[in-house]
């Protein structure tokens, strides 16, 4: 039994004087440890027609060299520890993670490297060119996958120019011209401790971790009073979606159809209501969409709906892929089901089953250090608190027909409904079964 286990305390938080925040969850049953650092440095801070893609290129280029390590050294040192690192950028943030076995000084050594990568990048010129070439290929290849393409257009239309809708990958025309100087500029503006959250879950010692983080990051930008992520977030206005239909005729086997409408933001008291309702509507194999579109009519292989949310706004998105001859009926059935959901609500049975389903998922995911690290990261990022699993379960249990009714009343889907499709059918045929007044801009 180690020190942390003896103390009996399993959840921890800490804030450094320079504003860097830390959260930790000790898991006595695991040997693994998952580490993540999240920074308010996502694509929403870019200038859409000038620097779109820079946040993502920075994510790649941080690993291309620091003042004391080459790209190869960064990689090889992490691999010697057996640490598997990952990173990702979306509209709201950049996240750097590592998964490792929590023994010896593995965690400290991993932190040393991540700190170096975040604080001392050199953005070497030649590597910059190579990474930029890679991203341009990624953009082209992504366009070849119809489902990806449909969702990219859908997001762009939904966010309607709002920074939260910028595609993190960037555009060919912007990425082509991005320079290391623009990256340095963006990095110095957004990569600072006041803007950063570290989350760790699994097998580790909290006191040792705090000491190490303080010695690594504590002297960085101390006393400089840079804007915190809380202030930066305030600069982003909520989006103003409008109804929009984008149908791209394309030679493919299936018609790939995406739809989306506005839902509640991540901090809303209706967050779990939205999760439950979307689960019932299109979550799994017993959802209404699966049953009506696939099981009863055989129109598709893939169909479903999901709810995703950011701080200012939430989004329900729907996807279906179907061959050309069945596509008008598929669209019609989905729209009918959506109207039915908003007219009639859900049944007792559906409500109870969806709650069980979501609770079980939360508990079972809670057995993985990586999932706990991510969940704690999100709850602290958006709400400045840790949500223990029992509390999440209580909130799911608290969803009632009444709260569902309220939620449905605040999220009317057809006020601003976006639909994007790619496939052989022209728009009028695809939407033949949908009342025209419903999808009027």
């Amino acid at each position: 039994m180690d020190k942390t286990q003896q103390s009996g305390q399993y959840e921890f938080t800490h804030r450094l004087p320079n504003g860097m925040e830390m959260v930790g969850q000790y898991m006595p049953s695991v040997r693994s440890v998952a580490l993540g650092i999240q920074i308010d440095a996502g694509s929403m801070h870019e200038q859409n027609n000038v620097t779109n893609g820079v946040a993502h290129l920075i994510e790649y280029n941080l690993f291309q060299g620091t003042t004391s390590r080459t790209a190869r050294q960064i990689n090889d040192e992490l691999e010697r520890i057996g640490a598997q690192h990952g990173s990702g950028v979306n509209a709201e943030w950049a996240r750097y993670t590592a998964s490792l076995v929590g023994r010896g000084d593995n965690l400290n050594r991993t932190l040393d490297i991540l700190a170096d990568v975040l604080m001392n990048p050199t953005f070497p010129e030649q590597e910059w060119e190579q990474q930029r070439a890679i991203v341009q290929q990624e953009i082209r290849n992504r366009d070849d996958e119809p489902m990806q393409r449909v969702f990219d257009v859908l997001r762009e239309d939904f966010f309607n120019g709002n920074p939260l809708g910028y595609n993190p990958l960037g555009k060919l025309e912007t990425v082509m011209n991005l320079t290391p100087d623009q990256a340095r500029q963006f990095w110095s503006e957004y990569y600072h401790p006041n803007n950063m959250l570290l989350s760790v879950a699994g097998s580790f010692d909290w006191d040792d971790l705090v000491k190490r983080v303080e010695s690594l990051f504590g002297g960085w930008h101390t006393g400089e009073n840079l804007p915190s992520r809380y202030e930066l977030q305030k600069e982003i206005p909520p989006p103003n979606p409008q109804t929009k239909i984008s149908v791209e005729q394309y030679e493919s086997q299936q018609e790939h159809i995406g739809m989306a409408y506005q839902s509640v933001p991540i901090t809303s008291p209706y967050y779990y209501v939205a999760s439950v309702v979307t689960e019932i509507f299109g979550g799994g194999m017993s959802s209404r969409l699966f049953s009506e579109v696939r099981e009863k009519r055989g129109l598709v292989y893939s169909v479903g709906a999901s709810y995703g949310a950011t701080r200012p706004v939430g989004l329900v998105s729907i996807y279906a892929g179907t061959t050309s001859e069945k596509s008008p009926e598929t669209v019609q059935v989905i729209i009918d089901q959506l109207q039915k959901l908003y007219d009639k609500g859900v049944t007792d049975e559906e409500l109870n089953d969806a709650k069980t389903q979501i609770k079980a998922r939360v508990v079972m995911r809670g057995e993985s250090s990586g999932a706990r690290m991510g969940a704690n990261m999100s709850s602290w990022w958006y709400e400045n608190r840790l949500r223990p699993i029992h509390e999440i379960k209580e909130q799911i249990d608290a969803v009632t027909h009444e709260s569902i009714k309220e939620y449905l009343a605040t999220t009317p889907p057809f006020n601003a409904f976006v639909l994007s499709a790619r496939g052989p059918r022209p728009q009028p045929e695809l939407l033949a079964g949908v009342p025209t007044e419903l999808l009027k801009a």
């Binding site: 006595p28 049953s29 695991v30 040997r31 693994s32 790209a71 190869r72 090889d76 691999e79 010697r80 520890i81 057996g82 640490a83 598997q84 076995v101 023994r103 060119e129 190579q130 990474q131 890679i134 991203v135 290929q137 990624e138 082209r140 290849n141 366009d143 070849d144 996958e145 119809p146 489902m147 086997q253 299936q254 799994g284 194999m285 017993s286 696939r294 099981e295 009863k296 055989g298 129109l299 598709v300 292989y301 892929g321 179907t322 061959t323 069945k326 109870n352 089953d353 069980t356 389903q357 979501i358 609770k359 079980a360 998922r361 508990v363 079972m364 057995e367 993985s368 250090s369 990586g370």
Partner: protein, 446 residues
């Protein structure tokens, strides 16, 4: 029953393993994990696309769908979906070239309900009306796979590499085979392949072993046994370079396969796994991707029952395709030359990476259930994590070169490119291979 102990990684093995066999041949394997609340259950059926007769193309996968459409003991499709949902199960099924499996993960208090659903599904009703409805879903799944360049390119390459071997299966079947398939064909296939002695029940996580055995005896004890087996054959790939031209794409995909070790020898499998990490993460990543040639590049080993393949894959653009292709083949050649010999450092990093992955996998009941079901199917024994770790630790660089003697990465290569380029534009990438242009698989029939 066997119980592990602390190994030299300081990773304590706390799992307990169990096995049991019913009189009809159904095998049960269990791994108790004291620290989890979840339990993962799965039925492994040793059957897949490779076990189909010529008139059964696609039946394994179509049957996997039908298993969810109603059971002989009276559960309907809706019952199955709703009951899984009601107990909060994560559940699914998959069909591959050599195995079909059905699984779910639940909190341990729902073990009985979960087991009831899974065992009932192994005795499906195979109703004609449901069959005809589900046929449409399969046809949609085929169409969908053709719109995904990566998956379509891989299926095409696989069918060309295994041209004279049952592994050439597309798994999904073709539009024609699915459109014309009769339910009798499926019933016969089910009767032949889903016999008790061709199934393994794997359970991992939080459970009571005596209860697991008692339930299996009670509900699966009357299942019939039968003659099973599978044709084991050598593949004879013909070196060639196939060009699939898809003029509406922007990216250019490259893929190649060459002979690799089969599943027969656990040590070979692990040696090939380490080699793959080194080729993938050390050689191709740094000398192809990070040179800006291809946004994605990978290398892997797929050991199968009687044969195996190594495969390399790259996602690039027409402008870089020739150079990328040559660079990949150069790396595969170079690792076999004295100047390209694997270093101690590469070996250590590859081992560490593999072991970290195993520690994370060891904490997931779902992962352990999969691993045990598959290992039992192949080896008729279970391999605890610490035994597998010790095996990996014992592998030397010489072991890798011994494997490469037998399975050189410069061996008979079947390569494929998929994208806007035509034959004349890319043929120069592989002057040693006969080049031809072909339509992609499943599209030819249109």
């Amino acid at each position: 029953m066997m119980q592990g102990q602390t190994n030299r990684h300081g990773i304590e093995q706390r799992s307990t393993f169990f096995t049991h066999q019913l009189k009809n041949g159904l095998q049960i394997v269990g791994e108790q994990m004291p620290d989890v609340e979840s339990v993962a259950l799965g039925f492994y059926v040793k059957t897949g696309g490779r076990d189909e007769k010529p008139d059964e193309d696609g039946v394994s996968h179509f049957l996997e769908h039908m298993v969810f459409k109603g059971t002989q003991n009276g559960l309907t499709a809706a019952d199955i979906n709703i009951m899984f949902h009601r107990i909060g199960a994560s559940f699914n099924a998959a069909t591959s070239r050599d195995v079909t499996y059905y699984y779910c993960m639940v909190l341990n208090e729902y073990y009985d309900q979960a087991f009831k659903l899974l065992y009932s599904m192994q005795r499906p009703k195979l109703d004609a009306t449901e069959f005809n409805m589900e046929r449409n879903v399969i046809l949609e799944e085929i169409a969908r796979s053709l719109d995904n360049p990566g998956s379509h390119a891989f299926r095409t390459l696989n069918s060309i590499y295994f041209t004279d071997h049952p592994l050439k299966t597309t798994i999904l079947g073709s539009r024609e085979s699915i459109s014309t398939m009769q339910i009798e064909t499926m019933r016969n296939y089910w009767q032949r392949r889903y016999v008790a002695n061709n199934l393994i029940f794997s359970v991992a996580g939080h459970f009571d072993w005596d209860h697991v055995v008692q339930q299996a005896e009670e509900y699966c004890g009357d299942w019939e046994s039968g003659e099973v087996g599978r044709r084991l054959l050598q593949a004879h790939p013909k070196p060639q370079f196939v060009v699939v031209t898809k003029s509406n794409l922007k990216g250019q995909l490259l893929a190649m396969m060459m002979p690799g070790p089969s599943n027969q020898n656990e040590r070979d499998v692990q040696v090939a796994g380490l080699l793959s990490i080194i080729v993938d993460d050390d050689r191709l990543f740094w000398n192809v991707r990070e040179k800006g040639l291809a946004e994605g590049v990978s290398f892997g080993s797929s050991p199968l029952d009687d044969t195996g393949v190594f495969s390399a894959y790259a996602s690039t653009t027409p402008a870089k395709a020739v150079e990328t292709f040559q660079a990949i083949r150069r790396e595969l050649e170079h690792i076999q030359e004295p100047t390209g010999r694997i270093t101690d450092d590469e070996m250590e990093r590859a081992k560490n990476k593999l072991i970290t992955g195993m520690v994370f996998g060891g904490e997931s009941s779902m992962n352990r259930m999969f691993s045990n079901g598959r290992t039992w199917m192949i080896r008729n024994r279970l391999i605890p994590l610490d035994e597998r770790m010790a095996l990996i630790e014992s592998i030397t660089i010489d072991d890798i070169y011994d494997l490469l003697q037998r399975y050189p990465l410069t061996g008979p290569t079947v390569a494929l490119t998929y994208g806007p380029m035509v034959q004349d534009e890319i043929a120069a990438a592989a002057p040693d291979l006969p080049v031809r242009t072909e339509p992609a698989i499943l599209e030819a029939e249109q």
